[in-house]
Symmetry: C2
Amino acid sequence: MQRPLLIQIHAQDNVAIVVNDGGLPKGTYIEEHQITLVDDIPQGHKVTLSHLKLDDPIIRYGEIIGYANEDLPQGRWVNEAVTRMPTPPNLNELEMATRPAPKLESLTGYTFQGYKNADGSVGTKNLLAITTSVNCVEGIVDYVVKIIEREVLPKYPNVDGVVGLNHLYGCGVAIDAPAAVVPIRTIHNLALNPNFGGEVMVVSLGCEKLQPERLLNEVDANSKRIPVADADIVRLQDERHLGFQDMIDHILAVAEIHLQKLNQRQRETVSAEHLVVGMQCGGSDAFSGVTSNPAVGFAADLIVRCGGTVMFSEVTEVRDGIHLLTPRAADEQVAKDLIREMQWYDDYLAAGRVDRSANTTPGNKKGGLNNIVEKAMGSIAKSGTSAIVEVLSPGQKPSKKGLIFAATPSSDFICGTQQMASGITVQVFTTGRGTPYGLAAVPVIKMASRNNIANRWSDLIDISAGDIAIGKKSIEQVGWELFELILAVASGEKQTWSDKWGIHNSLAVFNPAPVT
Amino acid sequence: MQRPLLIQIHAQDNVAIVVNDGGLPKGTYIEEHQITLVDDIPQGHKVTLSHLKLDDPIIRYGEIIGYANEDLPQGRWVNEAVTRMPTPPNLNELEMATRPAPKLESLTGYTFQGYKNADGSVGTKNLLAITTSVNCVEGIVDYVVKIIEREVLPKYPNVDGVVGLNHLYGCGVAIDAPAAVVPIRTIHNLALNPNFGGEVMVVSLGCEKLQPERLLNEVDANSKRIPVADADIVRLQDERHLGFQDMIDHILAVAEIHLQKLNQRQRETVSAEHLVVGMQCGGSDAFSGVTSNPAVGFAADLIVRCGGTVMFSEVTEVRDGIHLLTPRAADEQVAKDLIREMQWYDDYLAAGRVDRSANTTPGNKKGGLNNIVEKAMGSIAKSGTSAIVEVLSPGQKPSKKGLIFAATPSSDFICGTQQMASGITVQVFTTGRGTPYGLAAVPVIKMASRNNIANRWSDLIDISAGDIAIGKKSIEQVGWELFELILAVASGEKQTWSDKWGIHNSLAVFNPAPVT
């Protein structure tokens, strides 16, 4: 058996987590820390390194993640029952742009094989996307997609696939509600993801609320009107359509025009500055913040050093660490924008009579994460150390390169969709408990926080950060491995497991406004 | 050319709608009403039958659908610009159960060929449903469904198909928010739709918020705990799974056990009292309330007379006609329940800073429906004339037979999902503008309000009520035709167009609570 091992992250921490598979039994002596466990402690769960008195702060990552609900002798299991959650950082008392990282040392010479777009972006896949203005057309679009896959794509060997951008928005929604800007912007920007090569076609019903004109219209300074010819919009209700077969034929004809253009594209060597990588975590455990997320953060720094773009997200999972982020803002406006997004989400949750504590899951807790504060500390590690240069509201497109906070819900499938709208071309997804999550249009690299899950799910997990926990590899080593993997996946040289199996989640457009 | 034709619905109406395809030009004389049009009037749009002065009520269906915004001489086009919307009926001043219809004359001898279930319900299809607790498993479930369709179903000829009950709920949601009861109840009850034969299996991730135990647990008096053996729950994160292939094999093995049981079922002749038919409209126009919806109402009465169940829904489309419904409640409690659901939705919309006027679509307006009041008058015609015996909150199961108001959003795809959870086994969907909408698990009969769309979409629309507009058929005739078609579809003797093409919308579970 492996020797008893704890991980203490920060010198100030008064708790550490159990590394060993299967946990450690009561009575175990841990030499390194000179303590004896007085409880059975599951893997990933916390143990007190010293005696904590009632109301003493519980410190992990050098931050207060809770308060002791009772007297906790050394060696005790610190679970949810004995922990009280702190209040979240006050949004009116945050340091703003006080400690942005100095510009990190540039990294040059790193490249990938990507598809260049007219707007300067670079795709990692060459896909035909069929934008939809309303869910009503979903059955028709799915039908066409199957025909294209089976009968049409063989004619266009340079095209990697076809994706129907189906969603549950477009009608039966309060389209003039203040919050409707979010789903409309998201659907607009999804059509522009760099992996679709700038070839936009739309299938519309005709009577829906989200008329194609509205969907394509300018949203904001970063999302101008999409210049789509009327011939690229198929409205099923148009008089010209004599039934189902006619609709299918029409959509196929429009699709072929775009497939011909897409087929002329070829991968070219481009600088890594054209990477736009989304970072996400899901099914997290106590290792996520120790192994995978710090490795992701290191890779994020590498991408930023190459001049590329990294997006991190998940508002409820940064809310409790916001005091660590606003100082890292590149300037005061960025810090204010961070606060704006936190406030928006606070209000949104309050309207539904919940707060950020609604975030943690049974799996998080089983994995040792007692509450959202502890989860957030691990989550924000994905952002690395560079200055935050821009903040995006949900589904917005960036105007800058570098480290960007793209505000999204933490829901895996919604975050993925929103990051896609913001233009990611690769996603890195860290997981402690494991998930088969994938996106149809953007390759998702799944990184495990523990070797246990990486080994068991060897045909679903692309890379493991588990060796960090057992001291076999450093965060830097795994960060470099991940960076190299990102370049290989972006180049189409390496296929992710979810792409290999073709297992993908539906788009889940964030709609904070009412449905009607 | 067809002679100029207007339809005036009620003797008190001071507007009528233009029947003719292409509308009627200015100067047209309409003999029947002795008026000359002073505007070009599009098909389905309203014309003044007499001179209306500023602020005069505009009356259609014998109800005030708006007020004149300006002086309107006889023969004028009554469009949105010249109409002001009335305030909605005050929920505190409604008549309750003052005029419930006397029990309609019984109809006996009508039967269909259905699949009997142990709980007394009867299915119209014999499907294997794979319930999912969270969207994370979607890719895996889709993968398994394809294998079952291709390789497994041929062994089970009595099984009509397999349906993955994927949805966007289950994690990343505020599961303890007050409104979370709606999506949880919906997913619970979807698993029990009579078309799934009582064979429930669940695919879960493991760490999600909506744990299978919670999903299966008792929801309310009408939705007891679903007695599912642990062997019927596949948790992907379970230690037993060594990766992707292993998960697939496990799900397939569980599926086969249920397929074997389902394969033993055969259609049997059952009384029409076992019908549970959902009525819905979408892409409505001014004809919907004149032709298709009244015919649906007539068929609804026939089903109720057989002892069967009819559900009508779409809160924002009954809100402005609620004063016509509460008097029809079978007793005061039912009337109070109706008011409760209206109030809930008023509050829900207000929280998003909109009101019921958010409902109408560009297509509705093009089709002649100026506002939600006029739309509602046409929409509630689907309920026929019988007493309302029960009111269901979104996704609830009924405890009674007869005419039931199942509260749902009006969004086609959400309404369909919610009605499925409430147990419909056939849906009738009326449309003026046309939609390819369909459900994978419940046959959807699409009825056109106009012959124009029925003829153009002859391979998508199952039945037309258009002959009513031109006086070729009566509402009763088309109502009977629809009733007979419902029985044939319920029996599997007649296939709906959406089932023939296999075009189906995703499930869209109503989640009024925040996502996290």
